[in-house]
Structure formats: C-alpha cells, structure tokens
Symmetry: C2
Subunit: 460 residues, 2 copies
Amino acid sequence: MKKISLLFLLFPLIIKAQTPDADSLFIHAMAVNILSSDASHNNLHYLTKNIGGRLSGSPQMYLAEQWGAKALQAAGADNVILQQCMVPHWIRGGKDKAFVLYKEGNKQQKYQLNVLALGNSDGSGPNGVTAALMRVNNFDELEARKNEVSGKIVFYNVPFDDTLVSPFAAYGKNVIYRSIGASRAAKYGAVGMLMRSMTNTPGNYPHTGSLRYIDSLKKVPAAAMGLDDVKKLDSLFDNNIAVTASLFTYGRMLPDTIAHNVIGQLKGSESPEEIITVGGHLDSWDAAEGANDDGTGIVQTIEVLRVLKALNYHPKHTIQFVLFANEENGTRGAKKYAEEARLKNEQHIFALESDAGGFTPRGFSFEADAEAWQKLNSWKHLFSPYYGDRFETGEGGADIGYLKEALQTPQAGLNPDPQRYFYIHHAATDVFENVDIREMKLGAINMAILIYLVDKYGLH
Amino acid sequence: MKKISLLFLLFPLIIKAQTPDADSLFIHAMAVNILSSDASHNNLHYLTKNIGGRLSGSPQMYLAEQWGAKALQAAGADNVILQQCMVPHWIRGGKDKAFVLYKEGNKQQKYQLNVLALGNSDGSGPNGVTAALMRVNNFDELEARKNEVSGKIVFYNVPFDDTLVSPFAAYGKNVIYRSIGASRAAKYGAVGMLMRSMTNTPGNYPHTGSLRYIDSLKKVPAAAMGLDDVKKLDSLFDNNIAVTASLFTYGRMLPDTIAHNVIGQLKGSESPEEIITVGGHLDSWDAAEGANDDGTGIVQTIEVLRVLKALNYHPKHTIQFVLFANEENGTRGAKKYAEEARLKNEQHIFALESDAGGFTPRGFSFEADAEAWQKLNSWKHLFSPYYGDRFETGEGGADIGYLKEALQTPQAGLNPDPQRYFYIHHAATDVFENVDIREMKLGAINMAILIYLVDKYGLH
C-alpha cells in the first residue's frame, strides 16, 4: 500500500475549485472541530449504554427525552421545546420463543428457533400457538396454495435480492412481508406467522420491525427468525419433512400515551420566521441499543448544533434541531411537528434528516425543485473533501416527509454507505460497538456543511 | 428508516444517462454475476485461511504462487506465466518480546509490551537490548535532544492526525518514522527503537511494516507497539518516571531468493500487442492473513478475469492479470514486470491496481494525460450505480508505478473507502473475518467496468 502524493500539478484545472475561500475555510474549521471532539462519542455512548432501547411509551423513551433536552442545551441551543404528541404504546410483554418439531426416521426432533415478535403484533399468550408450518416463498405462492393455509402457521422465506447494489432496494422489495404478511396469511385462516428476517447477513439474529394488521382480519402472532434458523427449516422442507411449529409471544398494544419531540432552537438573526429543520428519531426498537437506528442520527443532529455554536456561527434563519418521537411504529412525532407547523403558518424553508445509520457518508437524497437542485449542485465541491458529494434525487426521510406534504418544504436525507445497515437493522446487534465513530463524525460534518450553506445562501 | 421510492419523475434530466445502452447492460450483467458468485469469497477464504501470511521467501509465498496460478487458470486465463524475479528474504526468526521496568514508590514494576519487530529489521538476538527508554514526539525533538540519545532506546510517539479526513494522508505524514526512525536514532547512538504503531484504532495490536536502514549507520533493533501500551508509557513519562526497556527481536535478512509474478493472460482479438494490466500483490506480512492487504486486491483481480470469461467477453487488447511478488518489502516483482516490458518493447496502454483494502468502493485515482482524463470522466455515469464514480488524480499504486516510470503507461488505483484500512493494516487483525465480502465484490465490479471500457474504447 502506497499512494500518498497527489499529482495536482498535472491537473491544475481539477484543483481550481479548491482555492480556499471563506466557505471552505469555515467548513474546514467545522470538520476539524468535529473530528477532534469527543462530544459525539460520549453522547452516543450515553444514549446507547445508559439508556438503551427506547421504544415509544417505554420508561427509556422518557429518559431519552430528558437526556436529549439536556444534550441540546449543553450543545448550545438558545432554548429547548418539548412538543407533546400521543404515541402508540406497544409492549413486547415477555421473552419471545419458538421451536419446531419434526421426525428424523421414527425419532421426534425438537429445534429451537431464535425469534423476535414483530413490533405492534398481538402475542400468542403463554399457551402459544402450535400448528403445522407451511413454507411459502412469496405472496404468489400463498395465493396459489391458499386452500392449504387454514389452521397453519405460515413461514415466509423471502431472501434479500443480493444482486441489487443497494441493500435498501432489497429491503424495499421485501418489507411488505413484514408489514402485512401476517394479515395476508390470516385472511386464509393461518393461526400464526413466522418470517425470514429482513437482513442479508449470515448468523442467527432475528430482526424485528413494524407490522400492520388489517383491521377486518384476525390478529395472529408474528415473529422473525435469523438466517441460520431459516437454513435449518429449509433443509427440512427441501426434504419434504413435515414440520410443526410452536410460537410463544406476548405483545400487546396499550392505550396511546404521551411523548415529545425534543426541539433545540438556534434563533435566526435575519429571518427568524424562516425555519430550517435538522433531525433524527429518538425512539428505537426495544431489543437493541438503537445505535445506528437512530442513535447516530440523534447524535449527528446535536453535533451540528454544537459545532455551529462552538465556531460562533450566527444563523440567518432559525434552525430547529429535532429529536423526533415515534418513528419506528407510528411517526406520530413527525406528524405532530408538521401539523403544528401548518396550523401556526410557519415558514419551513428546508429540512434534513439522518436515519440510515452512522456509516461513512456518500451524500444526500434531495427532494427539491429544479432551481434548488441546481443551487445544491453548485455547492458539490464543498462537500467533496468530506466524501459527501454524491447528490441524488429521492426522499428526505420518514420524519420530515410530513413537512413536505404539509408545506412543500424542500428536504434532504443523509445517505451513508448502505452496505452494512441491514446487518444490524432492528436486531440485537445494533449496539454502540457496531458504530464507527469516525464514520459517524464524517456524516455529521456533511450535515453541518449542508445546513450552513442553506442557511447562508438559501435554496432560491 | 424509510427511503425507498425515487422521485425520478421530478428530475427527468438526471436519469437521461441511465437509459440502458449496450455498455450499461453488459456492466449490469457483470455486476449481477459478481454479486451472485461465491468465487471471490472462496478464493479469499483459501488464500487467507489455507495459506495465510505469505512474506517474500516464506514457504507460504510459494504456496500462494501455486494457488494463484491455478486460480487464474480456473477463472479462464488463456495461459498463465510465472515471471521469475529475485526478492529480499527477511525472516522474523522468533517471537518478538518487550517489557519495561519502572518504579512506583520504591517498588520495581514490570509491564509487558505487545510488540512486532519492523519488517527488514535486524534482531537484538536472544540477549535482547536493555536500556533507558527515551520518548520523543517527532524528529524535531530527537534533534533538539540528540545529546541525550546515546545508549538509549528511542520511543517515537507520533499519533495519527485524526483531523485529516483520509487516514492515508495521516499515514503518509508519519510513515517516515517507521521507515528511517531507527537509523535517525542510531545516528546519535541509540541502541534500539520502539514506536507507536501506524494506526488510528484503539486496542493493543502492533502494526508492522517496512523499515529501511541507512547503510552507514548501526542497524539497531526496532519494533512497534499497540496504542494501549502507548497510553501506559505516556502515563509514566508524563509523570517523569524513569523507564528502562528490554527488547527481544530475532529478525534477519537472508540472501535474496527466487519468487514469481503470477500472470494470467487473456489474448487480445484485435490488438494483441497492446497490453492492459490489472493486479494486486500476492505477498503479505507474516503476522496476519494478509486479507485486506492485499488478499482482496488479488481476489478482485481474479474476479475481473472470471467475469469477463463468464460473460464470454473477447477483449480487443491483451489483458494481463498480475499477482505481483514482493510489494511489502522491495517491490521487486513490480520492478521486474516493468523492466521486462521495457526490454521487450511491449506496449502497455493501461494499468490498474487494487491495494487499499476490500472496503466499499469510492472510485479511482488516475495518472493520465488530459485527453485520457476527459475520456475517463465521460464514463463516470457508468460507474455511478456501483458507487465507484469518485474520480481523482493521484498515484495508481506501488506495483504499477514502475510501468509509469518505464513506459509512461496511464494508470489507475482503486480507491475503497479509506476509513477502516489502518485499523487492520499490517496487524494481526488483517484476517478474512475483517473483510466485508459484498464490499469487496463492489470493488471488483468497478474494476471490471474500468477494464472493460478501456479495452473497448481505449484511452485516446
């Protein structure tokens, strides 16, 4: 390995854009500050290790709100607002369990599955459900074999399409099985649902996530399993061995409860009535620490505030640093934020979200009109030294999408490199140790650059 | 996390370049083939687990050459050439050890250091060297305190500059301490050298690498330690505690020995006399498996060959897939390859190297004239879907650099994301388990795209 010196002299045209100007100097100062500071490391460590998983309605959610308010204050917010909203309150209710029974020759065999009930699912209760297990590879097969479904537990075995370069695209193809697979099976009389986890990593960690029951259908218990267990089940089904499954889950939806968006403000000096939003979501699934989903987005949001204050930057517009409530199973915080903005006739000129992990940054997805898109692209060279200059068109994110709907607010989502996200997404492996702090900081740097430029120059 | 649908309709101008043409269809077929194939996984597994570390002159080097020839054949090479060269033959000679002695109050304390002798260094022998340890933070301090050096072991404590975005730049700043720090200390009478490892990761793994003695000076033993040990030593020096160090190393330079560049050829159908080179280096340091340095470069090189053959591509030019000998401590394979090319008046129109780890690709560094640079940039959109469209000017790499010198061959180096490389570089952690196979495959895809386009269209 040896590739150090750059042959700038051969290509003077390439470095033209790198002549230091006020913007690139300020941006460099932000980058050095963020890379040198322990603040983001310490914030993420506290959130993941001292608070941990923080699902809507859980005691940890309230701890996270209190911590978030303090962290925004410590980072230099002019003031911190707790914006109340009602959120769903789902509890897991116990330790999810499952096993299968089958015969090898004449001998009865038992194989334990490592499962996690899907979020929002109703539990089987302590008696569990026990039924013949029926494997289907997709909804088409379910429909073709619908007469066989009644009284069974349906096992959806839908692998990630590894030929897609972005695992987010593979996730997007399959997520419908997690969201409505249980109801689709219940429609034909299934008594339970098991599924291959939404992941492309070997190993045996189950990945949870939101399920959405169709109201008119029976709410059957539903859980995900890791890929080693899938392999085991495949070996049975491929050999035409009859399998009986028992599933024990305890999930329960309690009445909606109170939560808060935690909002830190930097007041604008020139156009305080025009608001820029930057945020991530504070809630996370219960079975892990919510480190990459979305601890890193929270910490990066706070880091943007901290670095702007640390460098004594006075924004023209009001910047709101938002730790959104309840992204995982309701996006009620996001809806509340957009609804209040609309009711109060607020002017939201831009919104940025980080909710795709703390991995090394690639760039941003933008939803903006042609004029703004052109302006954004004229800034690309300022992101390039920090590896965030891949500008694409696409959604900003789940939490700021409602602002777009309500107020046509232009928006952006940070795009980290997507390859490693589904190794840990909604699984017990989404812990502090699986965050690369330097990569997370590089994401924060690119977010800070974007907020700085939009504040200084506007998008139109 | 939810960002799936792309708002292409809003931005028709953006997708213009994505209208499928013959090139993007062929490229897509290569990508799907590489992402679906187990070949690269299996090749890397064999090279790292069945052969392991393969320093020049070691028995493993010969096993790796034999394996490489077979792997190139299996991937579809028209023929495989073993190009002989003489290489340095350094052996570690034993298990490196070091400890320090110091007093806490009146009590003598002993602290073991985890060290690795630097490559090419002469050992202390079984009696070791024992001397007062002198910490310096850089060469300036060494010069300022040169009168104190005689009879001591010098400890260079030069941390990575974490404010530099690319760790390769931080490495480039410090690598001189590893290469000539021992001689610079010996000049003033030092009897040994210890150094902070060339890494930015916490933990306690020492990172080895090439040392270069200045001939006129005494060849003192030299070793690197991990960062936990540095922290311990710092705590002693910061408290003005006198430290004595003992260092036991056994390195020895044996006479040069025979090695080979292993070269697989695909014969050109139109201009067979014009040669395109793609390669990595087959040797690796002895203390690890040489997985990212440079097992991944080797496997990617073979993968480019495999996919071109699998898709029945008939190159216009002759493509040489080169597993270079001896990059780590001599680059003698590279020199031989360039020298033969010059002596035989070969026409080398392009060379590509992968030697910066198997991490998710960013793009390439190019050394090429303005016309070629313009042509390369006109292809950027073909790399973009595979995340390899960050085109920079810079060196191609250590092995193909000699072709540039000898024949002005335009060249490129694959640039994976640089953040994680120095966590494992030349340390015991550079093992198969620390390679992300999908990320390595994405690198191979981008290499295949570049080779395909240069072969099909040329650079001029």
